[in-house]
Subunit: 198 residues, 2 copies
């Protein structure tokens, strides 16, 4: 790896301005399309909306998952940064955890199909899965540790499991108005509460 080699990839600023412009156009188009058609929208639709060819798309984003990450990176970071803030501002660590989970659920639920996409099962979205976890698990851990230290919750569930559980419960919130993921997540948190011991 040569240190002088030009940077490349979805988040790097390219030298040529048409490239920079196209990258931003693609991100904007993707964000718009994701809102209406969900994160599973075809690459062609996004490229078309951006007025750009497929080659250009793949030049900027090696694959679909990288585009999704790029589109939501900022929001994920915001969610991550909210953790310490909530911990400082909330009456108890558990309350902070509840609020943070609410934030995370808000984020997932408003992105059609995002939660499902993160289950790397079918598609090649494992990068997405990994990014979310890398970024958010430490924050969640901090919240859980604080709540555990305050003796508010059990200690036998780690942040990874909690995050996965929440993510999974958010799957399929579109297409079924009956389904209320929040209620189940609230129940999960309820189950996490330490039963007042003798």
């Amino acid at each position: 790896m040569n240190a002088s080699s030009p940077r490349q990839g979805s988040s790097a600023a390219s030298k040529r301005k048409d490239a920079r412009r196209n990258q931003q156009t693609l991100l904007d188009a993707a964000a718009a399309v994701f809102v209406t058609s969900g994160v599973d929208a075809p690459v062609r639709e996004i490229a078309s909306k951006a007025g750009v060819g497929l080659g250009t798309f793949y030049r900027h984003f090696p694959n679909r998952a990288d585009l999704v990450i790029a589109v939501y990176r900022h929001q994920v970071d915001t969610c991550a940064e909210a953790g310490p803030t909530l911990l400082a501002e909330s009456p108890t660590p558990f309350a902070a955890l509840e609020r943070w989970v609410d934030l995370f659920v808000d984020f997932l639920v408003t992105k059609h199909g995002l939660a499902a996409a993160m289950q790397a099962d079918t598609t090649g979205f494992e990068a997405l899965h990994t990014y979310f976890l890398d970024r958010l698990v430490p924050v969640c851990t901090q919240l859980l540790d604080a709540a555990a230290a305050a003796d508010e919750i059990r200690t036998d569930l780690d942040a990874y499991h909690l995050m996965r559980g929440i993510g999974n419960l958010c799957i399929g919130t579109d297409g079924d108005p009956r389904y209320d993921a929040r209620r189940l997540i609230a129940l999960l948190l309820e189950g996490l509460r330490r039963p007042h011991r003798p």
Copy 2:
């Protein structure tokens, strides 16, 4: 609909014996392939394993989802029938519910990708989703009602939500040995317990 029209579909016995034989061969091949490659295995792979053409496949099963239903129908029915039995044999309704959930989770977890497939989001598996729910929600309702009548659980969660929650939590149990869906499901049931009120 003419009453004398010959029955057709995945569960009907055809008149010609080659048809009957091929249907069974397809079911066997599918069951075998599902074990190794998961329920998302390509139709071509199943047809090939059965030594049969694609046309034959689609003659017997209008689409992939119908095949999956056919393969697992018996096991789903078994699970449904276990509900009343457990209710009669268990010390308390809640214990019966726990055992039944365990049965259901066993079923889902051993079928790679089944839980994910039931989220009709991407693929055309809504028939699968519907079948599972139609068959199991009534059973689950019975268990919940019994537990509620015994004042063991809260009454603000219906069977549909519980089933969906459990199904969702089972998603992605393969491909990640760290993830333990059962623990989260146990926590969910814990949260469902009625907090001993004054």
